[in-house]
């Protein structure tokens, strides 16, 4: 693909309930931070992509609420519905299409304003499944069990993801849940849907993130050293959970392999030095790592226990604290991208990584994934 880069990132603090901010207020804050980060004015942005979801926002045409606050009033603008990694993908294509140079991508959500259980229940097929009363938590719990059953991953290993990520969040001023806990704390927390305890689940959160993507022509023209987009790919598995092997994520494997190939990575385990992934639940960090081929099958839990994914190690996973420490859906994946960018640039501890991976997901139990490979060097 032609070269493009991320030249500015900005986000709000992730909070449990941003009582004083509307969607537009959050977008305004994130956008201004991204512009400031990039050393750009709004006039330097030539088009905008917002990312939102009508169900989460409780509003038809949810993009309407943030367009102007994202500076889109007199610009070409579009809206992706889904995770921010998908919004950023569309933003990237617009910067590469010859129509535009600099795309501002925003993604927002306020989980505090709705009931996530009912909203994710609406992702089930209305005729065949919805009446059973499943939601994202109960469906993910089934996937967690299927993954643990296949790989031998233990409840303790799941808990260690929570311990690590909440601990990492203590160094992230934007995180919502930053604290030091033990494996016992996780195992003793309320069992919500077996095998997922409360501390295996990400919280309900509010937040917004903004990212500026420029093509090669413009990438070097502003304040920050660009972080280059080396590879991006997304892929969807079958819809019905029973059509898939729920213990696996074929679509993630496919998306990751294509992203590695685009980036020219022949040994991603060695070449990637930093991962920010979609850990909506503890098991997902381990499962996504394995399904992306970043460790062997059934090894993620063991490697985690040995400290292989620690923030200060060679292969930090979710050094920001991940979604377990703050999960504004929709914005979540864009935040993963922003966190990788900040760490590759060295604004935050990135353990000196040159190549980073960000991953986002749409749908139930990781049906559709988007994988980004970002690089410090061109």
């Amino acid at each position: 693909m032609d070269r493009a880069a991320i030249i500015g990132v900005g986000m709000t603090r992730i909070e449990g309930n941003k009582k004083t901010d509307t969607y537009a207020d959050m977008a305004w804050e994130a956008v201004n931070r991204a512009l400031e980060d990039a050393g750009m004015e709004m006039d330097d942005i030539d088009n905008v992509v917002t990312t939102s979801n009508d169900f989460w926002d409780g509003r038809t045409i949810s993009c309407m609420a943030v367009g102007d606050a994202s500076g889109a009033a007199n610009k070409n603008v579009s809206c992706v519905e889904g995770d921010g990694t998908f919004g950023a993908f569309y933003g990237l294509t617009r910067s590469l299409s010859g129509s535009y140079d600099t795309t501002l991508v925003t993604a927002h959500s306020k989980g505090s304003e709705s009931v996530s259980s009912l909203i994710t229940n609406a992702a089930f097929d209305p005729i065949y499944e919805r009446g059973l009363g499943l939601d994202m938590v109960s469906a993910s719990a089934m996937q967690a069990r299927a993954f643990m059953h296949r790989t031998g991953t233990t409840q303790e290993q799941l808990a260690m993801v929570s311990v690590k990520n909440h601990g990492n969040a203590m160094r992230n001023p934007m995180a919502q849940l930053a604290f030091k806990i033990t494996v016992e704390d996780v195992l003793n927390s309320e069992m919500i849907a077996d095998p997922l305890h409360k501390l295996d689940c990400s919280p309900v959160s509010d937040g917004c993130c903004a990212v500026i993507i420029a093509n090669e022509k413009k990438a070097g023209k502003y304040a920050r050293k660009p972080v280059w987009i080396k590879g991006v790919s997304f892929c969807s598995d079958s819809y019905h959970l029973g059509d898939r092997d729920l213990s696996r994520s074929k679509s993630l494997t496919a998306a990751a392999e294509k992203a590695y190939a685009m980036a020219g990575l022949s040994n991603p385990r060695k070449e990637i030095g930093l991962v920010e992934l979609y850990d909506a639940f503890t098991y997902q960090e381990l499962m996504w790592l394995e399904e992306m081929g970043l460790c062997g099958e059934g090894e993620a839990g063991k490697l985690l226990a040995k400290g292989a994914f620690d923030a200060d190690g060679k292969f930090p996973v979710n050094p920001s604290g991940g979604l377990l420490s703050g999960h504004p859906v929709i914005a979540a994946g864009l935040i993963r991208i922003a966190e990788v960018v900040k760490r590759l640039r060295g604004d935050e501890n990135g353990s000196g990584a040159k190549i980073g991976l960000a991953q986002g997901t749409n749908g139930l139990c990781g049906q559709s994934h988007c994988v980004w490979i970002l690089g410090k060097d061109k």
């Binding site: 009508d54 367009g67 992706v80 294509t93 997304f234 969807s236």
Partner: protein, 386 residues
Amino acid sequence: MAKRVAIIGTGQTHHKSHRPDVNGQELINEAVKRALQDADLTMKDIDAVVIGNMDHFEGINYVDCWSVDGSGAVMKPIIKLTTGGTTGCTIAIGGYHIVASGLFDRVLVIGWEKNSESDTTGAITTAFDPVWDRLVFAGAISGLAAEAQAYMARYGATDRDGARVSVRDRKHATNNPYAQLRKEVTLEEVLASPMLADPIHLLDVCPRTDGACAIIMASEDLAVKSANKPDWIWATANRHPYSYLGDADYGRLTSMSESSKELYKKVGIREPRKEIDVIELYQPYSFAGLIWIEDMGIVGHGEGPEYVWGGNTDMGGELPINPSGGVISCNPIGATGLIRCAEAAMQVMGKAEGRQVPDVKHAISTGFGGCWWTDMILHGSEKPEY
């Protein structure tokens, strides 16, 4: 750097008020199969899928994920774009950028809606913006009525002028086997139909529709190799400002004039009336067929009625508008903008059969929605000159 992009196939359902025989995925599948057949391709040839609809009309969250059984996107990239009434045109613009980026060579774009599945009043409550509510729903059209009233007051137009547009589109629809309403009406019948919101009569507005549309876009190399004469995308433009009810310049569609200017500037069109051969206008009610062609720069402000009465926008006229019968003959909202795009593509490709305008070199398709939003695409029979 940027690749040229063309539409190489289109497909749509036979649009109806109710499709109880199929669920949403199955409805989508009908349009997808027809588009593949038209392009002489199979799903294996498709690299990625773009889909759009209005979530709260079907009450299904993560439609990109839910729809894969019908869209064919199992183990393929699929992305959802949604911008309200403009969605259909927005997803076509999305398909264009995604192919032009060079990241995918063949992209399937799908717009759909099963309006029969939700209660209009209930769905209206899900958008708090009163302007938008009134724009999109036939049952609550006071925003559009305000536009029509303002226009009539400014330029001296009458409800007969609006009715003339309705007569035109409903006549055109009789040539379109896919349209939902295919019955000619007279001026008198339009004016005698129930008044919904003065000056808008029942026969001035769009119906509620179940339907889906799909198009296939390809990069230059593959488009040239395609069995079809491709429809080249020359340029796209849109404006989605946020307007409260009091913000709009009633009687003018600012987003349309700004988008048009950008579109013409991008490709060097100076006299759109002469250089454009056909328009598929997202025109949810008849008066828009007077007002918005002025904002599009086809004629001057206040000249819309005279131009329409002169037969210029009829089939066989100088610049036929809505040969398909347009939105007032058929309105599956998430698909509506894409149907405009597909119909414009069919005109350029010479595939519009009974509704074909001869020798189309340039066509425009538009989307309308949100709070006075516009999306536009310029289509051409020759490769664009960039």
